[in-house]
């Protein structure tokens, strides 16, 4: 009897321990906010002491400056090198810089979960900037930070803006304020094709591409069920998007564009493409698989698929700006949301001054050249982009050519699902091709996108 009770007690204790252990992690994350607050207070105390002593510049002498940095998994080795160079550049300070892995495409999700616990400096794709600004997660690079840059890095905000291409600076700028440092351009999409099956001339138009695909018994692939890709038809025809201060989106796609093309005509052009047997609508996120599987002879994608396309197309590997499509009896050049990679500073970073300097260092000319050499990523720095090796890169050249037709992506959270659904309806052919049905579908799309947030 006694044994049984002891056994039961031990079991209960183990169970309780397991509960406590499980809860432990949750507890930590819950507490991190408050402990962060405590740390802030103590930091404030120190700063008070520091300000009494005018001789100490950049914090109490000998104090270790701790920073955390998040970057893409593939960038880790590069970041370690760059951070070492950063430490060498500011060798009069002691740093403790921790590098973590966070994909540039999902950085926003992790950061917004708990901004106060997120990294001080992080890399992200430009499409997340509006959400990050709305949540107050990005430190504006202005005023005091300009002074910091001038004092320590020896360059002003204007120097940084003029060193990078105007398009990438625009990606990081909202209301005339720079919210992040441009790290690279080329985060848009363009055309990859196999020049053994598609001639360079055919690659200029959708009609030519579909003709070549049919002749080769292959497909011309594009993702239609994504607002990021299918906007290219509307943007090319001169339609626009805009973002309101309350996070809602403005679109005019159910009307007539500045080029005198109606939304209905654009949709008819898209429907003609989708109905062609040479066209393959690719699910969002499935493009690399389709290239690898050899299902396409031409496809619309971005620099991230350069390696896959090179492997699949072999000697015929070629890339160009997006094709034109037939719309309202004319050839209309497809547009795109221009894109880039940015490095931002957490608005809740304690050592915000040094965080800004680190972000600046990781995006300066030398770092961008290093990034191109290591990862073949398109630089946003004008000098770095002028390097012959960069200009010789087929994918980056095509991306830059397409960027001439790019616009800054300014859409709110309500844009994506309606636009995705609309693309899927065209891919599946569920919208009738008469004007009234298309107009009704467009009206419903615009109603969904422009719905108030909340």
């Amino acid at each position: 009897m006694k044994m049984k009770k002891i056994l039961a007690l031990v079991l209960a204790a183990v169970m309780a321990l397991a509960l406590v252990a499980c809860g432990g992690s949750g507890n930590n994350s819950g507490n991190s906010g408050s402990s962060g607050g405590d740390a802030q207070n103590s930091q404030n105390d120190q700063s008070g002491a520091g300000s009494q002593d005018p001789d100490t510049s950049g914090g109490a002498a000998g104090e270790t400056i701790s920073l955390t940095l998040w970057g893409a998994e593939e960038d880790q080795a590069l970041l370690v090198d760059l951070v070492e160079k950063f430490k060498a550049a500011y060798s009069d300070q002691t740093f403790d810089i921790k590098i973590g892995v966070e994909s540039e495409s999902t950085a926003k999700d992790t950061i917004l979960t708990d901004i106060e616990a997120a990294a001080d400096v992080f890399a992200f794709a430009n499409d997340q900037i509006d959400d990050l600004i709305a949540a107050g997660a990005l430190l504006p690079i202005s005023g005091d930070m300009d002074a910091v840059l001038q004092n320590y890095a020896g360059k002003s905000l204007e120097d940084i803006k003029s060193a990078n291409s105007a398009a990438t600076v625009a990606l990081a700028t909202r209301n005339d304020t720079l919210y992040a440092f441009p790290m690279g351009g080329g985060n848009n999409y363009f055309l990859y094709y196999d020049s053994t099956r598609v001639t360079d001339e055919q690659a200029q138009t959708w009609d030519g591409l579909l003709e070549a695909a049919n002749a080769a018994g292959s497909k011309m692939g594009m993702t239609l069920n994504s607002g990021w890709y299918n906007a290219s038809f509307f943007l090319g025809a001169g339609f626009t998007t805009a973002l309101n201060a309350d996070g809602s989106t403005v679109v005019d796609w159910n009307g007539t564009s500045s080029k005198g093309i109606t939304g209905v005509q654009v949709v008819q052009g898209m429907q003609a493409i989708a109905a062609n047997p040479g066209f393959l609508p690719i699910a969002d996120g499935d493009i690399s698989n389709q290239i690898n599987a050899g299902n396409v002879c031409a496809v619309i994608s971005g620099t991230w698929d350069a390696e896959a396309a090179q492997k699949a197309f072999g000697d015929g590997y070629a890339a160009a700006k997006l094709p034109t499509f037939t719309c309202a009896g004319q050839q209309v050049q497809m547009g795109c949301f221009s894109g880039g990679k940015l490095i931002g500073v957490n608005a809740y970073a304690k050592n915000s001054g040094w965080a800004v300097l680190l972000a600046e260092f990781l995006t300066n000319e030398e770092s961008q050249v290093a990034r191109f050499n290591a990862r073949q990523q398109a630089p946003s720095n004008i000098n770095a982009a002028a390097d012959p090796a960069v200009e010789a890169n087929v994918a980056i050249a095509a991306s830059a050519a397409q960027d001439a037709y790019g616009v800054v992506q300014s859409v709110g959270g309500k844009y994506w699902d309606p636009a995705k659904s609309f693309g899927e309806q065209i891919a599946q052919g569920t919208i009738a091709s008469d004007d009234a049905s298309i107009q009704a579908a467009l009206d419903s799309l615009v109603e969904g996108i422009t719905a108030p947030v909340g």
Partner: protein
């Protein structure tokens, strides 16, 4: 009121005991209302007195050092926005003492729970002290501290066993559920995300939006559609796997089948492979550019379906079009779910009362009659509760739906898309999208409450209906 304490359990007994203790207790019991250790000190139980005093001090310290930072702001959920200034000398940002609505909500709730527990302890404590007084007055033995401790290994052993699990449930289950319920009455969404922005109470607005009112009328429409499919899915997935499992086990038990063990093992293999692996593989097989589509195109099935007008695309939208996806999900779920049900059914069938089958056979019943009147009623009787549980589990079957349709299915219904829902979404997967992709915590909380209500109502009705006391006799 009597001197002795009532043995009645339950809430009324608890309160009447407290009343008796306060009214009839001596000065020490009355002092215990203020100083928790007083009564024990009077009976020379100094260790207990010390523990209760420390506990009281702990509660008071908790109240003034922790709870008072948050609870006074519970009504507004905070008013001070975060502001920072940069200190050039230290290269650091300095903040004002800003409010974080979420922490206010969470820690206020935590404080309420602690206070509720403290009140219960306070009341019980008074009753206990009064019990000590009665024992002492009656001249009975008053336990020493080691003796008290020993009771927790003997007559009060259940208390020892249960206390830690109960604490775990309160901290890790009850508090989060209460938090979820509270969030449903706030405007916590992407426009109101702490720490930069504050959120506040909005009353029943979120519930009004869900039922079709408010600014986002699409939510009401999407909710009805999603709820409809959730119930259809739960019904079909439960019934198909249940019936399929029974037939499969009957088949394998039949004397006509050779090597039943081999077949049974083969079917078990689907269980051996982790479910999410099989589901993701299935998703890839049936995707628009997947292997099934390649095969169908090669043998001309795709072309045939196009010709007769069943599809309008150059591929068969197994998992990507309305209707097709619904059927495919249920079919794939049969393949995944039947082996489990087969296992259960085999176990039940092996315990089938042999005498009844024997007498049925002697009476000349054919296999169908035996199945209809003996096997099936027995199965239903034994597995009825499991069936209800399965149904509720399927209402929340996140895995199958999410893994099969994520990134594959895109709604073509604009009104659904406008509410961030898809026709194949269950309430749980919709909730997941709303929190994960849209930070719409307020609507997700409302949906979470709805799921809870639906599951609770269904379980109560079904259990009352299926497991009534007379059922057993009915079967006999």
């Amino acid at each position: 009121m009597e001197d002795h304490l009532s043995e009645k359990s339950g809430i009324s007994g608890f309160f009447s005991n407290f009343g008796t203790a306060v009214a009839k207790g001596d000065w020490a019991v009355k002092l215990t209302l203020l100083w928790w250790g007083a009564g024990y000190a009077r009976r020379k139980q100094f260790v207990k007195a010390l523990i209760m005093t420390a506990l009281e001090a702990g509660v008071i310290a908790f109240t003034f050092l922790f709870a008072m930072q948050y609870v006074p702001k519970f009504g507004t959920l905070g008013t001070v926005q975060a502001e920072q200034v940069f200190n050039m000398a230290t290269m650091k940002s300095e903040w004002n003492d800003y409010d974080n609505s979420f922490l206010i909500l969470l820690f206020s709730l935590f404080s309420f729970v602690v206070w509720a527990a403290a009140i219960v302890v306070w009341m019980r404590n008074v009753v206990n002290v009064y019990r000590l007084q009665l024992q002492a007055e009656a001249g009975r033995h008053v336990n020493s501290f080691p003796e008290d401790l020993r009771t927790y290994l003997d007559e009060k052993f259940h208390v020892t066993l249960l206390s830690l699990p109960v604490l775990g449930v309160v901290v890790f289950t009850i508090i989060p559920i209460l938090l979820l319920i509270l969030v449903a009455f706030t405007n916590y969404d992407q426009q109101h995300m702490p720490p930069t922005n504050l959120f506040s109470w909005v009353g029943l607005n979120n519930f009004i939006s869900l039922f079709g009112g408010g600014v986002t009328a699409n939510f009401g429409y999407a909710f009805a559609r999603v709820l409809g499919w959730t119930l259809v899915w739960a019904l079909f997935s439960t019934l198909t796997t249940y019936i399929g499992g029974i037939f499969m086990s009957l088949l394998l038990n039949s004397k006509m089948v050779k090597w039943p063990k081999l077949w049974r093992t083969l079917f078990m293999v689907t269980i051996a492979v982790p479910q999410f692996v099989s589901l993701l593989l299935m998703r890839n097989f049936f995707s628009n550019g997947g292997i099934m589509n390649t095969i169908c195109a090669d043998i001309g099935l795709t072309g045939f379906l196009r010709d007769i007008g069943l599809i309008s695309t150059s591929y068969i939208p197994f998992l990507s079009a309305n209707g097709w996806a619904h059927v495919m999900i249920i079919l794939i779920n049969i393949w995944i779910g039947v082996p489990y049900q087969m296992l259960i059914a085999t176990g039940v069938l092996m315990n089938l009362p042999g005498d009844q089958l024997e007498s049925a056979r002697i009476d000349g019943a054919n296999p169908y009659q035996t199945f209809r009147h003996i096997t099936m009623p027995y199965m239903l009787f034994v597995t009825g509760p499991a069936l209800v549980t399965d149904f509720v589990k399927n209402i929340n079957n996140f895995n199958v739906i999410y893994l099969l349709t994520q990134d594959v299915f895109t709604t073509t219904n604009q009104a659904m898309a406008n509410a961030q829902a898809r026709e194949v979404d269950l309430l749980t997967t919709w909730l997941f999208t709303l929190t994960q992709d849209y930070y719409n915590y307020k609507m997700a909380s409302v949906i979470g409450i709805m799921i809870f209500v639906i599951c609770a109502v269904f379980t109560l009705i079904a259990f009352n209906f299926m497991i009534r006391g007379d059922k057993e006799e009915g079967y006999q």
